[in-house]
Symmetry: C2
């Protein structure tokens, strides 16, 4: 299955709560199970046994809680900066990191750089919809705390292209997150964006259909495929759902532990609940994507396991093989 014409995927071996162990194990598994080339980036002595994978040496590591902007400016030999440079210098086709999210964005933005015409890159995060075949793509999930209406329109274009390529949704339904369905609801930014999305020909090259304003309750529903919002609101939504789901699942499992009868009943139900658990497990989503750059950058969650890295590498090669970045470039600035 090895495709010798594709460049390797650069995996930041030092990023994530479980780095380098789980990250390296995931990279090795990705090569073996997916048959794709992977190159590790990081400190060779800490990586240890690479399982035969090549290593791009980088002497510095940006900590999970470091200041993103300053770290990327000052730590030029960090694994994150070197991974982004590998994409820039055509030594890798895409990058994957479970490290500091802000520093991943900053490295990718500064080294891989934006596609022509893109105002700002956006983080596109898949939100699982229980019972539905495909997740909802939420963007921006945190790259830009403040946005202009023009950027939000580009997020709609990028989100539509991504939903089609990643999830096979031919004509994605694109909604604008607000606090009521009426075009008059929301902040001035939302109202201005609504006007542009409703009236404009933004979808001429990207495809996708604007379904109007959507509300928080629609994010986890199959009624909309792409939800567009600013990075502040999007990040709050993402983390609210993560916290709410975790809290509810914990309470339900505690109910299962009430007495011997409920414990026995719980054991019967676990297999029936596994598919749902799998759908909600962030290790299985393949990670978030930073859209709008000259190469795919996958942002895996901080607690990524080896399985999460395998899935992230798979998404990376799918996006490379489908020329996601080219399609986004054409959607933003039609020929």
């Amino acid at each position: 299955m090895s495709d010798t014409t594709r460049l390797p995927v650069a995996v930041d071996a030092m990023g994530g709560d479980r780095a380098p162990g789980e990250i390296v194990a995931g990279a090795v598994r990705a090569r073996d199970e997916l048959g794709v080339e992977v190159v590790l980036v990081g400190r060779p002595d800490e990586i240890g046994d690479t399982g035969g994978l090549e290593v791009i040496a980088a002497s510095e590591v940006i900590a999970m809680d470091a200041d993103p902007g300053r770290s990327v400016r000052t730590m030029k030999d960090s694994s994150l900066v070197r991974a982004a440079e590998a994409v820039r210098d055509a030594k890798a086709c895409a990058m994957v990191s479970a490290g500091n999210t802000g520093a991943t964005m900053a490295s990718a933005l500064l080294r891989i750089k934006r596609l022509p015409g893109v105002g700002r890159p956006a983080i596109a995060t898949p939100i699982p919809c229980p019972g539905a075949e495909t997740p909802t793509v939420l963007l921006d999930a945190g790259a830009n705390a403040e946005c202009s209406a023009e950027w939000l329109v580009q997020f709609a274009q990028m989100g539509a292209v991504y939903a089609r390529q990643r999830y096979g949704i031919e004509d994605p339904k694109v909604g604008l997150l607000s606090i009521g369905e009426e075009p008059t609801k929301g902040t001035p930014l939302v109202k201005e964006t609504h006007g542009l999305l409703a009236a404009g020909d933004w979808a001429a090259a990207s495809g996708g259909t604007f379904v109007g304003n959507v509300e928080g309750r629609d994010v986890m529903s199959p009624d909309v495929d792409v939800v567009v919002t600013d990075g502040f609101t999007g990040n709050v939504v993402l983390k609210t759902l993560e916290g709410g789901m975790r809290s509810l699942v914990k309470a339900i499992l505690a109910s299962f532990d009430t007495n011997d009868d409920t414990r026995a009943a719980g054991e019967v139900l676990i297999p029936a609940l596994l598919p749902l658990y799998g759908q909600l497990d962030p290790d299985n989503t393949g990670g978030a994507l930073l859209l709008g750059l000259n190469g795919p950058c996958i942002i895996s969650h901080g607690s990524s396991s080896a399985t999460a890295i395998v899935n992230a590498v798979q998404v990376a090669v799918e996006m490379v093989d489908g020329d996601l970045c080219g399609a986004i470039g054409r959607a933003i600035r039609p020929a």
Copy 2:
């Protein structure tokens, strides 16, 4: 138990998806079960049997989807406007409505009016935290799509007073919703508000301790008692949680229905799950409160049952008896 010194609670008989039937039934039950005076507001012929409750006649009804501002300006004989006037004219001590949320706010703001010094009223909504004794108070949950830092500081003051009076939390932990714990994270509004909450003596009269920025994942956790945010973000958070919880519960119940074994196991578990279900049922929260006015205004959810109205009336009299509005007035503008 009847307290003859307290004015009756005005209940908008025409507001809500299940009005007037469930609303009137709830008002009658509130009188019988709580021993409090209740007055209905609405069309006498549609209300029908009042169970002996007095009725303030109002000939108009503001529809659930009507434009709030215009409706309240033009429908001066609507049940919502008349209910607010009953509070203003000292014919009622508080108002309860399950009707059009925007029109409820507008009626209350225009007729009951703000407490001296209050910039804007805010909707305070209890967010249940599974496993915790008390919910988190989220405000503003939708009254003001755009806010100033000064208003957000007042929301912190009002939220602290409310959390103490309603839930008995002596020194409420107050968090500011952002996208990272660091004071540098978030929008300019959030950063400015962080500075005021961290440095100022805002809590001198309200009580409460600022615990810094919190994230979406903290909203449904017991780590914070009051979460302050603008009405756009707050409303998105509230509806995102509603939708996410509903979606997850539906998927779990579908898993229970997999086969005969899981159905039998599910029946064993239902009693153990009932307390959690009860905690999450919006009929049991007592509704949201519009804080900052000269009298309590309870906003019940649109699908309120009779039980929701009983709980809303109970919250109303608790807030009246504890002089919530007086305490908020002193917190905002200390003597």
